[in-house]
Symmetry: D4
Subunit: 254 residues, 8 copies
Amino acid sequence: MDPLDLERLLNDVREHRVSPEEALTRLKTLPYEDLGFAKVDHHRALRRGFPEVIFGAGKTADQIGTIVGSIAARGQGVLVTRTNEEAFARVQRDHADARFEAAARCVVLERGTKAALPGRVAIVCAGTSDLPVAEEAAVTAAFLGATVDTVYDAGVAGLHRLLERMTQIRQADAIVVVAGMEGALPSVVAGLVDAPVIAVPTSVGYGAAFQGLAALLGMLTACASGIGVVNIDNGFGAAYLAASILRVKSRSTA
Amino acid sequence: MDPLDLERLLNDVREHRVSPEEALTRLKTLPYEDLGFAKVDHHRALRRGFPEVIFGAGKTADQIGTIVGSIAARGQGVLVTRTNEEAFARVQRDHADARFEAAARCVVLERGTKAALPGRVAIVCAGTSDLPVAEEAAVTAAFLGATVDTVYDAGVAGLHRLLERMTQIRQADAIVVVAGMEGALPSVVAGLVDAPVIAVPTSVGYGAAFQGLAALLGMLTACASGIGVVNIDNGFGAAYLAASILRVKSRSTA
Amino acid sequence: MDPLDLERLLNDVREHRVSPEEALTRLKTLPYEDLGFAKVDHHRALRRGFPEVIFGAGKTADQIGTIVGSIAARGQGVLVTRTNEEAFARVQRDHADARFEAAARCVVLERGTKAALPGRVAIVCAGTSDLPVAEEAAVTAAFLGATVDTVYDAGVAGLHRLLERMTQIRQADAIVVVAGMEGALPSVVAGLVDAPVIAVPTSVGYGAAFQGLAALLGMLTACASGIGVVNIDNGFGAAYLAASILRVKSRSTA
Amino acid sequence: MDPLDLERLLNDVREHRVSPEEALTRLKTLPYEDLGFAKVDHHRALRRGFPEVIFGAGKTADQIGTIVGSIAARGQGVLVTRTNEEAFARVQRDHADARFEAAARCVVLERGTKAALPGRVAIVCAGTSDLPVAEEAAVTAAFLGATVDTVYDAGVAGLHRLLERMTQIRQADAIVVVAGMEGALPSVVAGLVDAPVIAVPTSVGYGAAFQGLAALLGMLTACASGIGVVNIDNGFGAAYLAASILRVKSRSTA
Amino acid sequence: MDPLDLERLLNDVREHRVSPEEALTRLKTLPYEDLGFAKVDHHRALRRGFPEVIFGAGKTADQIGTIVGSIAARGQGVLVTRTNEEAFARVQRDHADARFEAAARCVVLERGTKAALPGRVAIVCAGTSDLPVAEEAAVTAAFLGATVDTVYDAGVAGLHRLLERMTQIRQADAIVVVAGMEGALPSVVAGLVDAPVIAVPTSVGYGAAFQGLAALLGMLTACASGIGVVNIDNGFGAAYLAASILRVKSRSTA
Amino acid sequence: MDPLDLERLLNDVREHRVSPEEALTRLKTLPYEDLGFAKVDHHRALRRGFPEVIFGAGKTADQIGTIVGSIAARGQGVLVTRTNEEAFARVQRDHADARFEAAARCVVLERGTKAALPGRVAIVCAGTSDLPVAEEAAVTAAFLGATVDTVYDAGVAGLHRLLERMTQIRQADAIVVVAGMEGALPSVVAGLVDAPVIAVPTSVGYGAAFQGLAALLGMLTACASGIGVVNIDNGFGAAYLAASILRVKSRSTA
Amino acid sequence: MDPLDLERLLNDVREHRVSPEEALTRLKTLPYEDLGFAKVDHHRALRRGFPEVIFGAGKTADQIGTIVGSIAARGQGVLVTRTNEEAFARVQRDHADARFEAAARCVVLERGTKAALPGRVAIVCAGTSDLPVAEEAAVTAAFLGATVDTVYDAGVAGLHRLLERMTQIRQADAIVVVAGMEGALPSVVAGLVDAPVIAVPTSVGYGAAFQGLAALLGMLTACASGIGVVNIDNGFGAAYLAASILRVKSRSTA
Amino acid sequence: MDPLDLERLLNDVREHRVSPEEALTRLKTLPYEDLGFAKVDHHRALRRGFPEVIFGAGKTADQIGTIVGSIAARGQGVLVTRTNEEAFARVQRDHADARFEAAARCVVLERGTKAALPGRVAIVCAGTSDLPVAEEAAVTAAFLGATVDTVYDAGVAGLHRLLERMTQIRQADAIVVVAGMEGALPSVVAGLVDAPVIAVPTSVGYGAAFQGLAALLGMLTACASGIGVVNIDNGFGAAYLAASILRVKSRSTA
C-alpha cells in the first residue's frame, strides 16, 4: 500500500464506500513497510544536518565518482573516507572544488552553508604513526560542523608533552583520543578531564599489538571512567560520536 | 615542597633574603609532584559535582563499610556497585538511610542536595537476563544526577516492542543500550536516533557468546555510526559516560 | 496514536471534518510503533502454531512457575529448557500433568491438540556425553509437532554403528547431528544423505576442545555441503530450525 | 572383489560348485570397500539431481578447464565458484556457451534440462560490500534449480529498507541472509519470518570485525530462533543448504 | 539384510529360484550397514588384544559400576580413567580384586593373561604438578601390556636431572613426555634420542599458560623433529599411541 | 679441554706428574661442554642413518646451494623442503643428479646406499588442496628410507573412496593422515586401523578454518585413540615421526 | 660413573692397570649425566645465596610442611608463595618462628644471616585489588635480600599520586610495576625513570580484561622502552628478576 | 607561564607589587604543564647518556633522513632500527660516515665519544632465522655503549652447542635470549645462569607458531625464574633493557 492507495482508501471513507471500521481494520493490518519510510528517513537525514559520508575502502574510483556525483546533484556536500589520490582525481574531474586531505586519506566536497556545531572537539594522539587515524577524525569532525583542536605527539611515555597541552584539551566538550600499541593514552587523559572521552585504538604496532587488539582491550578496561571506545582505526566513527555529543548542547532540555 | 614551604620561599623573596633568580631556579627544578596536586585534584573532584563511586567486587563487607564511613564523614554521598546484601547490612549499621538496589546490586547513600544534570538518559535493554547490568546503569545515572528513562525487554528479535518505544527513546540526550548474545540492539537503535549511543555488551549467553565477546565485537563493528562501547557488563561506566555527556549541555560554549 | 485515535480520525474523514489529504499526511507521519504491532505479532505467533518455549537457565523456580502459569492461563502449552527438578516441582504444584524430561533437562506442559508437522526429524549423536543436548533437541522437536527418530552412540570413531543406521537416517527430512570433541560427525553424515543437516557442536571434551570451539570450527569448515550450524550446546535451536524446515513441506508452492 | 567376481561366485553357487554356506562366509568377510560403492555413490549423485560444483580457489585456469571438460563430456552442467576471468576464458575456449557471473565470481555451464525445485529462496544482504557473497549464493541457488529473489542493501542500520521488503522475503521457503560487520541482520530477519533462515557471515569490515569472526559469533548467538549458520563468506554453502531445504518440499511425507 | 537373509538368497540362487544376475543386483545395492559390521568390528577389537578403557569423567559411580560389570562379565579386564575413590568403591563392591591408582585417578581391573608388548615405554615429566597426567599415562601403558619406565621431576630448568636419566630414556621404543607451563621438555628430549616422542601438554600453570595452550603451542612448534602431540592432559591418549607404536615391533614386515 | 688435553692429563697421571686426586678435581670441574659433545652428537647423527634435511623457507637459493654443497662434500645426501625451482637450479648447477619434486616443493640429493627402513608408511589425504603437504610427507619419508604408499583424494565427505582403500592402509606400520578444513579424516582412519596415526592439519580452507586452527583443534580432540598431531602443514615432521616409528621395528627388544 | 668410580679409574691409570688411551675412551664416552651435576648444581645454588622458594598452589598443607621441614633441616630458610593459613599452621607446628604474610599469601621461614643485596627495589601498584600480587613481590624481594620500597595506589587514572612519589621511585635500581585492567602504569613509569622496569600484569578486572590478557598485551606493547614483562600475577617472578638485577651491582665488571 | 613570566612574578614579589599570598595562589594554580618540562625532560635525556633511537618501520627514506639530520645537527649520534638500504642511502648522502648493519636492518650514526657501560651483554639465539632480531639486539646494545658477546645457533634441539658456550654466557651481566617456534631457549638458559635473562620471542615459525604467539606464551610461562619478556621480534627493546641493567652497575648503592 503506497500513499496513493492510502489516499484512495481515505476517499472511500469520505464517500462512505468504506466504513471507518473496515478502514481501521485494513490500516491496522497493513504492512508498516508500505508507509513510505524511506521518505520519513530521508527527512530525518535532512533534519540531522549532517552531510553524507562514504566509506571509500573497497570501492573503485569510478564507483566513488558516481556516488559523489549523485549526492552533489542534490546540492549536498559529501565526505569520502579511506580513499586515495586516484579517487580524488576522478571526483575532481566533475567537481573542481573538491579537496584531498592526504594525511587523512579523505576527499571532501563542501556544499552550501554548514550549520556550525556548538562547542569544540579535541583530537589527541600519541605519535606520528597514529596520525592517519587522528586526521581522519579531525577532517570528519570539521566536515560535520565541529570546531576542532588537534594535540598530536602527546604520548604516555613522554607525559610532559601531554601535560603541557592539558589546558587546551580541557576546553573541549568531547575529546577523541587516538592510540595504538598499549592504548594507555585515553586512560591518562580521562583521569585529567571532565568531558566525555572517545577512545580510538589503532592497528599501529607489531607482535603482541595484534593489529590493534592490545590497544582495544586496554581502552575497554581503562581504569578511568567516562570512556567510550570505537572500532580499531575508526577515526570517522569517533568523530561522528563526538559531533553527536556536541549536538546535544543545542538540544533543548526536556 | 608543600604550600607552607612555598609561602616561606615567597616571603624570603619579599624580604630579599632570597634573590628572584635563585627562587626561580628552585621553583623551576622543584619536582612538580610536590606542588600539592592531591588538593588540586580534590578541588577538581568537587567541581565535577559527582559524588564518589566504589567498585564493590572483591571487597569485604567490612572494607566497604569503612570506605563508605570515611566518605560519609565528609558529608558526601556514595554509591557502591557490584555488591551484595551482606555489605548493605554492614553499611546500614552506621547509615540507616542507605538503601539497597537489589536488581542493580548497588548500595546507595545520598547526602546533601545533588545538582540535577540537564536532559535525560535512556537505558534500553533486550531482556530479563541483561537487567542487572541495565539496572546498574540506571541506578548509577540517577545517582550522578541524571533523569533516567528505562526501556527494558526491547530486543532485536521482537522488533515491534522496540519500535513502540522509539518516541520515548528519541527524547534522550544520551542512550545507553545494554545487550548480550549477538549485541545487535545498539546498531538498530543508533540507526533510529540522533543522540549519542553508549553500548554495553553483557556476558549473557552461552557457547559462542564467549562471556560477552560476541556482543563486544558486534558492537564495535556495528554498521550504524555514533556508538561508543564500554567494557563487558560495565553498566556503571556507561552511565558515567552518559552523565558526562549530559554535563556537556550545561557547559558554556567556547 | 492507538486504534481508538485512528478510529476517531477515520470518523472525522467520514464526517468531512478532516480532509483525506490531511488524514493522509497524519497517517504517513504517525510513528509506526503506535500501530499496535504487539497484536499483529501476537497473531503471527498464533499463526505459526508453535507453542512458547522458555530458556530456563538463570531463572528461579518461582520465576519459571509464574511464566508457565501465565501461558497456561491462555490455554497454551509451554516448554522450559535448561531447567531442573526444582523448577519442575514448582510447575507441577499448579499443573499436575506437566512432565520432566530429565535427560533433556526440560519441563513440558502440553495443552490442546497440537498440529503434527509433516515428515520426520532424525537426531544423531556420537556418544553418551552428548546425550543431554541431543535429548533437548528431541524433546523440543517433538514439542513443536515433529515426528522424531533418535540415533544415539553413532560416532565417527566407530563408523560401522553409524552405517548400520543410515537407512533410518535417510528417511528424515531434516537431520540434527550433535557432536562434541572434533565435531566430525555432521560432515560424515552430510556426505551420505540428501536432506538438510543441522549441526550442533557440544561443549563435551577437554583441553583443546576449548568448551566446544573445536567442534564449532570443525562443523563450520566441514568439507561436505548442506550443513547449517547452531550455537554450542544449542539443542533447542537446532530442533527449532528442523521444525521450521518440516513446516516448509506444508507451505503451498509459490 | 568387483562385480565380475561377485557374478562368478553367484554362478558357482548356481552350478553347485560352491555351497551357499561357503559363499555366505566369503560374502560376509569380503571387505565392504570392494562392493563398488563408487558406482552406488554415483547413483546417489544422479538421483540428487544436483549438477556438480567446483571450488575454484587455488586451482589454475588449466586445472579448471580440464575438470569442467571431463564433466561436460558426461553431458552434465557444472558451476565453478571463487574463480576469475582467466579461468572463464579457458573454459569458454572449449564451451562457447559458458557464462561468467562477474559479481559472483562464478563460471556457469548449463547442460540438459534442469528439474526446477519447488518454492523460492530469498537472498538478503546489507550492503554493497557483501554483494560478492550474496551473488555467489544467488548464482548457486539458481544453478541448483531454485527460484531466487534478491533483496540487497537492506541493512540493520537502515531498518526501513528491510521492512519495505518483508512481504517479498516472507514468501520464501528458505532465506539466506548475508551480513558482515556485526552480523545483526539474520537475527532481525528471523524475528519477522517463519521460514528457516541461513546466515552467512562475511569477512567485510576491519579491526574488531576480525575477518568475519564478529559476524560469525553474532549469528551463532542470535537471540532469534531458527537460524543455521555457514562458514564465513560461504555463499555457495548457504545456497546448497537452501536448495536442500526446497527439495524437502517435494519429498513424499513418511 | 542380515546373514540369514543372505543365506536365503544364496539358497534361492542354488535352487534356481533367483538368477545370478538378479542376486548380483540385489547384493550390489544392499546397504553395507546390514552386513553385521558390529561383529567384524568386535573381531577387530579382539584381534587388537587391547582390553577396553572407559573415560570416567562425567559418569556417575553407578554408571561406571554397570559398564565395568558388563565388560567383566565377558571375562575381560577394563581400565577406568579420570575417576575417583567413590567410583572405585562401587566397582570394588562387585570386583574385590579391582585396584585404585590414586595418583593416576584410575581404576584397574585385570582379567586373564595379558600379552606383553615388545620393547619399553618411558614416561618423562618435569614436576610434581604434572604427575597425575604422567601417572595416567603410566597406568594406561602398563594396562595395555607395555613395560614402563618413569622419569619424573626432570624439567628443563634443572637440565642436569634430565641428563642424568638419558641412558634409561634412550632405551625406550616410545617416549611419552608430559609437560605444562611452556612445554619445552619434549623438544629437549627429542633432541637427545632416536625413538618417537609423544608430547602431552598439561593444564598446569597460570596466567599466560592459558590452561595448557602455551604448552600445546610450544610442543606443536618444537624445533626438534619426531614429536607427535596429543590433547592437553591426555595421558591416556599418549599411552595408547605409545602402545600402538610398540605393537608395530611385533608386526611382520611387509 | 679437548681430547688432546684430556689425553695429556691422563698421561700426567700415569707419569705421576699429577695425582689422581688432583686429576679428579680437574675432571669434576671441567665444563662438560668441553668434552667434545659435538663429535659425540655427530656420531649419534651417523648412527641414526638419517641424512640431513634443510628447511628451505626463508633461505635464498645461494644459501641453500652452499649448505647442500657442504653436506654433499661429506658424501652425504640431503633433502631441502619448502623450496622452489630457483633453489633447485642453483643446487643442480653443482649437482647434476639432484632432482626437484615439484608437488612436494622439495629438492632431493641422494648419495650412497641408504638403509631401507622395515615396514611401510601410508600417506592419506582428502583432496587436491592438501596435496603439497601430503607430497612433502611422501618425499620426506622415502628420503629417510621408508617404503611409502599414497592414498590421496579419500576425504570424509566421500567416505566410500576411503573405505575402498582401507586394505592398503591397514598394511602400513605408520599412517600419516593429512587434512585441512575440519580435519575429521584422522579420526575416521584411526577408528578403522591398528597402526599409529600421525595427523597433519593443513592451512587449506577459509573463514572459520582460521589457517589450519580448526583442523588442528579437531585432530587434537579426535574421539578415536592413537593419534599424534604435528604442526599445521608440517608434512616433513609427520614423515620424520613415521620413519622413527618404522625404525622401532628394527630395534632389538630390551 | 660417580666420583668414586672416577677416582678408581684414575688410580688404575696411575698404577698402569689401564692405559691412558683406554681411560680416554672411557671418559669420552661416559654419559655426562654421571658426572654428579646435581652436586655442581647444588654448589651453584649455594653460591647464588638465594634461599629456596616453593610454589604453594596445588600443594597440601602436609606436603608443604614436609618440604619446608627438609629444607629447614639443612639449616636454610624458605619462602612459600601462593599458600594459606592452613599451610602456615602446619609449618608453624614444627617451626614456631615461621611467619605468615597474609596480604602476600606467603609463609616465610628465615634461617641464618642473609647477605643483603646492594641497591633498592621499588614495588609500584595502582590499586587495592593489585595488592596481593604487589605484596607477593615485596615479600619475595625482601626474602631474597633486597631493600624494598612500596608505592601502592598510584594508578594512571590518578596521575598526581604517582608523580608525588617519583622521587622515591627514581632511587630504585629495579622497579616492579604491578597493574591490572589496561596495564598502562609500567609505560608511564618507564617514561619517567632510568632504571629497568619489570611489569607484572594482574588478572584484576572483568570482561575485556580477559583474566589479565589485556594488561599483558598492553605491557608487551608499551611505547616506553626498557620494560621486561613476567607472567600474569607472577609477583614472585618479578621480584626474583629484580633481585637478580640488584645482584649485578655486586659482580665485578669483566 | 614560562620561566620569564615566573621571573617577572618573583620580581613583583620582591618589589612588593604582588603579595606573597597572591603569588602563592597564582603559583599553586598555575598549570604544571607550563613549567617547561620539555627542558627538564631534555636534561634527563642528556643525563641518561643514551643517544636517540628511531623506529624506522613505516617511515619513508626522506622522513628518516630528516630526523637523522636534525639529531646529527645537535652533535648527537643516532640509531635507526627496522630500516633498509634505501633509507641508508638517503642518510649517507648527508653523513658519509653512517653505516648500514644489513643483518640487523639498522642504520648507525656514531657521534662524539660514547661512555662505555660496565659489564657485558650476551645475545643468544637458536638459529639462522632468528638472526635479524638477534642482530638488532646486538647492534642496539653496542650503540648504547655495551660490550656484546653473541652466541648464535645454540638451540634447544642441539643442546650440546649451547652447553659448549655456557662459560662465555655465564660472564654476562645481562643475557638476551632470542627464540622463535616454541621459545624454550630462555628457560634452558635461565636454569644455567645467575644473571637476569631477557627473552625475545620471534615471529619465526609457521602454523601453530601463530606469528610468535607460541614463543611468547612459552617464555611468559617458563618454569625457570628470573626472566623478563619483551614484545615479539623486539630486539631493540631487549637490548635497551639489557643496557639499563648494565647501567645499574655504575649507580652508587643507596
